[in-house]
């Protein structure tokens, strides 16, 4: 049965984030005061931090997953710029291990965390170390096809080295349409890649500019608001059983055949989508 391989040091997992860095990401996220690119970077940095903490043990960080964070945009000439969105020492590495992630953040920011004592109601200020790997960026267009093509190449190489691993999970976050063609064939090519444990999973998240109600994990294309949503639906993988069960256990009302897709997502929805899409793999719970 696919998608059952337990994630371990021998059979590492792979998470690939494809971040839209087009100019439209400068707009505020629906229901938030902050820009979409800022919120997205916060979400990704938090995810990386949590994963690093989760992987940490007595002897440092357990090397049980590889992570790639790609950004895509175009320059002023319309040429696609595809590359790692990681900053600092890891900027030139397309895929890095979680151990490298933990050891090499671009910087560690000191932030104040406010915690309220539930019994007394008193609020405490606790200094918190927040590592940063990804900085916000918004420029040019949305070369989605180029991005998917690069992801295909990267994962082909990774899969050749990890034939028995849990299949890579690709999380694509965008706020607009592809500007370099129909992305669906590229997405299909990407999801045709497979390890012995199943095909590559592609989850798509659309960020909202307006506070319109969003939705997640639709089971059928009926009622999708526009062509962009239709495209994203077709590009997205059907949630495998472990993911489906995990979402059900988390209280999400899913139907069989639900796809890994979110539309008009706000910040809460984005974090929930990230967790659902990445924490259901065996060994990460």
């Amino acid at each position: 049965m696919p998608y059952k391989m337990e994630i371990s040091r021998q059979n590492k997992a792979c998470f690939l984030f494809l971040l839209d860095q087009s100019y439209s990401m400068c707009e505020p996220l629906g229901g938030s005061q902050h820009r979409k690119c800022d919120e997205l970077c916060n979400a990704i940095n938090s995810w990386l931090q949590n994963m690093t903490i989760r992987a940490s043990g007595d002897q440092g960080i357990k090397d049980w997953m590889d992570i790639g964070v790609f950004g895509y945009r175009t320059n002023s000439y319309g040429q696609p710029i595809i590359g790692s969105a990681l900053q600092g020492p890891l900027a030139s590495s397309p895929i890095v291990s979680i151990r490298d992630i933990g050891m090499n953040p671009a910087r560690i920011e000191q932030r104040i965390q406010y915690i309220q004592d539930p019994t007394t109601g008193q609020t405490f200020e606790i200094p918190n170390e927040c590592p940063v790997w990804v900085d916000p960026c918004c420029e040019g267009g949305t070369p989605m096809c180029n991005m998917l093509y690069t992801a295909h190449q990267t994962l082909t190489e990774w899969i050749n080295q990890h034939r028995y691993s849990f299949p890579p999970i690709v999380v694509h976050i965008t706020d607009g349409e592809s500007q370099d063609g129909d992305p669906r064939p590229y997405a299909q090519a990407l999801t045709r890649l497979s390890t012995m444990d199943g095909n590559v999973l592609l989850f798509n998240c659309h960020l909202s500019s307006t506070p319109a109600p969003g939705f997640m994990f639709p089971a059928n294309p009926y009622g999708l608001p526009d062509m962009l949503a239709q495209y994203l639906y077709e590009m997205s993988s059907i949630l495998p059983e472990p993911f489906f069960n995990h979402a059900i256990a988390e209280g999400l009302p899913l139907q069989r055949g639900a796809r890994g897709m979110a539309f008009n997502a706000d910040m809460v929805c984005l974090i929930q989508f990230l967790n659902m899409g990445t924490q259901a793999a065996p060994g990460l719970r």
């Binding site: 040091r9 690093t52 940490s56 002897q59 357990k62 170390e129």
Partner: protein
């Protein structure tokens, strides 16, 4: 009380970190296994400290006064081993919640109790042992008897393992764990296997049992740590077991004599516990000659059951007391009735009383009393041994003094009983009457084979006795009838008979009908009265 042997294989052999821990101590008679949660920080040290603390002072989670103090001391010990100043940014957030581990421990002690489900063919001299302790989380204690799984605590089936077991935390998060402890308490006969294992191994063992292929623990015992590593790696590749730290501790319970014979441990070294590179708790038990120290995550084991140690652990080791040679028990008539006969599968017919050789009032046959055991001190209670002084009360048949050669057998008993079989059938016991001293008639009646005149005289004598008996009976009746009581009784019975006849004539008339009606009404009244009385009495109750 038990011999033990432990195996542990880390999740990642290259990395070498093993968050499982186990300890066993045959002085305290305690065995403990713990599985540190990979997701928590310093869980390896936490599981090790937990195991060591259980060995040093076996806790009682139901003791609401002392258990929190015990736990606080263990937590303090864990925290003292951590350099908080050198923690990385990714370690600091985890320190708030601390480390987590599952835990299972058991104390194994000799018991006077017997198991509820004791086999019928259990030898009389079997020793029994009480296994008691607690389990928290999904580290399991399994009991195997006669090659089958009897019980598994706390997880019963392989499908019941989930990813969220109850855990003991190294930081007090205000969680009351009392309800999460599952008590262990049962009695086993010697020779049974008590297996403690962490979750991955427990799940594999249970799935093996569910598939009908119960592990042969004796073979498991005999394997080397390297063979265990190979086994775990192989079943990991076959996806029979989850990739996780895999630890199993085998304990075979039994008396010293039993374990000595079965495991040949008289030359073994003193108890060695698992050692950890960073937490060397067991240095005080350095054996002589020194045992091979096991690398981290490898198996260290083995066992000793007889050796006495001084009470204070840190004192230098004292050379083990020489063990007197233990005499081997007498061989049983059949292989299936050997000392391991508790596991026998063939049915043994019940031995006749003669063969059991019951010598004492306790009903324990001498042949089954192990002379070497301490409990065989009960030999002081023994009656004189069998043989010449066997009691005369044993039912024996009167034997003719001689039997003529060539004479044909008669209906009476043969001249001499064959030596075997000695079994006395109940029918025989009823048939054979022991001679009563002084009974001349019996002697006279004793027929001699082949003598016809004596036979006719015998018949005549029988006839004479019969007539005499009849005459005696008549004389007795006459004497009885002449007594006053008999006369009175006879007169009364005749009078009652006459009265009955008279009443019968009267009741058949019209007066009789009125009388019957009155009696009937009176009877109803009485019935009602007693009914009310009964009801009232019930209410008062």
């Amino acid at each position: 009380m038990f011999v033990f042997k432990g195996f542990s294989h880390p999740k990642d052999p290259q990395n070498g970190t093993n968050e499982d821990a186990w300890r066993a101590d045959d002085l305290q008679n305690v065995v403990v296994v713990s599985d540190g949660a990979s997701s928590s920080l310093f869980s390896s040290s936490w599981s090790n400290i937990l195991c060591q603390s259980v060995i040093e002072n076996v806790p009682d989670p139901m003791d609401h006064f002392n258990f929190p103090k015990w736990l606080e001391r263990v937590r303090e010990k864990w925290l003292n081993g951590i350099d908080l100043n050198n923690l990385s940014w990714y370690q600091k957030p985890k320190m708030a919640s601390g480390a987590f581990a599952t835990l299972v421990w058991a104390t194994i002690e000799q018991s006077m109790e017997t198991p509820d489900d004791l086999d019928d063919d259990t030898p009389l001299d079997t020793d029994f042992f009480r296994v008691y302790g607690y389990a928290l989380g999904d580290a399991c204690l399994m009991h195997f008897h006669n090659g089958r799984l009897v019980r598994s605590i706390p997880v019963v089936r392989s499908a019941d393992f989930d990813s969220t077991p109850a855990l003991m935390g190294s930081v007090n998060l205000g969680v009351d764990l009392t309800a999460s402890f599952v008590p262990i308490d049962f009695v086993v006969p010697e020779g049974d296997w008590i297996i403690l294992a962490t979750d991955a191994m427990s799940q594999w063992i249970l799935s093996q049992c569910e598939n009908g292929s119960v592990p042969d623990w004796r073979s498991f015992w005999n394997q080397t740590p390297e063979q265990y590593d190979e086994l775990v790696e192989r079943i990991r590749q076959e996806q029979q077991i989850r990739i996780d730290d895999s630890t199993v501790v085998l304990c075979c319970v039994g008396s010293d004599v039993y374990l000595d014979r079965e495991f040949n441990v008289e030359t073994s070294t003193p108890t060695i516990r698992q050692e950890d590179n960073r937490f060397s708790f067991t240095q005080e038990y350095k054996p002589e000659p020194p045992a091979q120290p096991a690398p981290l995550g490898k198996t260290v084991s083995v066992s000793s059951v007889f050796l006495d140690f001084p009470d204070a652990a840190p004192t230098p080791p004292v050379p083990p007391r020489p063990i007197p040679p233990v005499p081997q028990p007498e061989p049983e008539p059949e292989p299936s009735t050997a000392k391991t006969g508790f596991h026998q599968t063939t049915e043994i017919p019940p031995l006749p009383t003669d063969e059991l050789g019951i010598d004492s009032d306790f009903g324990i046959p001498n042949s089954k009393l192990p002379n070497s055991k301490p409990k065989s001190d009960s030999a002081a209670f023994r009656m004189p041994s069998s043989g010449a002084s066997r009691p005369a009360a044993k039912p024996t048949a009167p034997r003719p003094t001689s039997k003529p050669a060539g004479s044909k057998p008669t209906a009476s008993r043969p001249a001499s009983r064959p030596a075997a079989p000695k079994r006395i059938q109940p029918s025989q016991e009823q048939r054979i009457e022991p001679p009563k001293p002084g009974e001349e008639e019996y002697k006279v009646a004793q027929p001699q084979p082949g003598s016809e005149p004596k036979m006719s005289a015998y018949m005549a004598e029988l006839e004479r006795r019969k007539v005499a008996e009849i005459e005696q009976e008549e004389q007795r009746k006459r004497e009885q009838e002449s007594k006053f009581g008999y006369q009175f009784q006879k007169g009364m019975s005749e009078g009652i008979k006459d009265m009955k006849e008279g009443f019968s004539d009267m009741l058949s008339g019209p007066v009789g009908e009125q009388a019957k009606e009155a009696v009937k009404k009176g009877k109803e009244k009485v019935t009602k009265f007693f009914g009310r009385l009964f009801k009232k009495g019930k209410e008062n109750e």
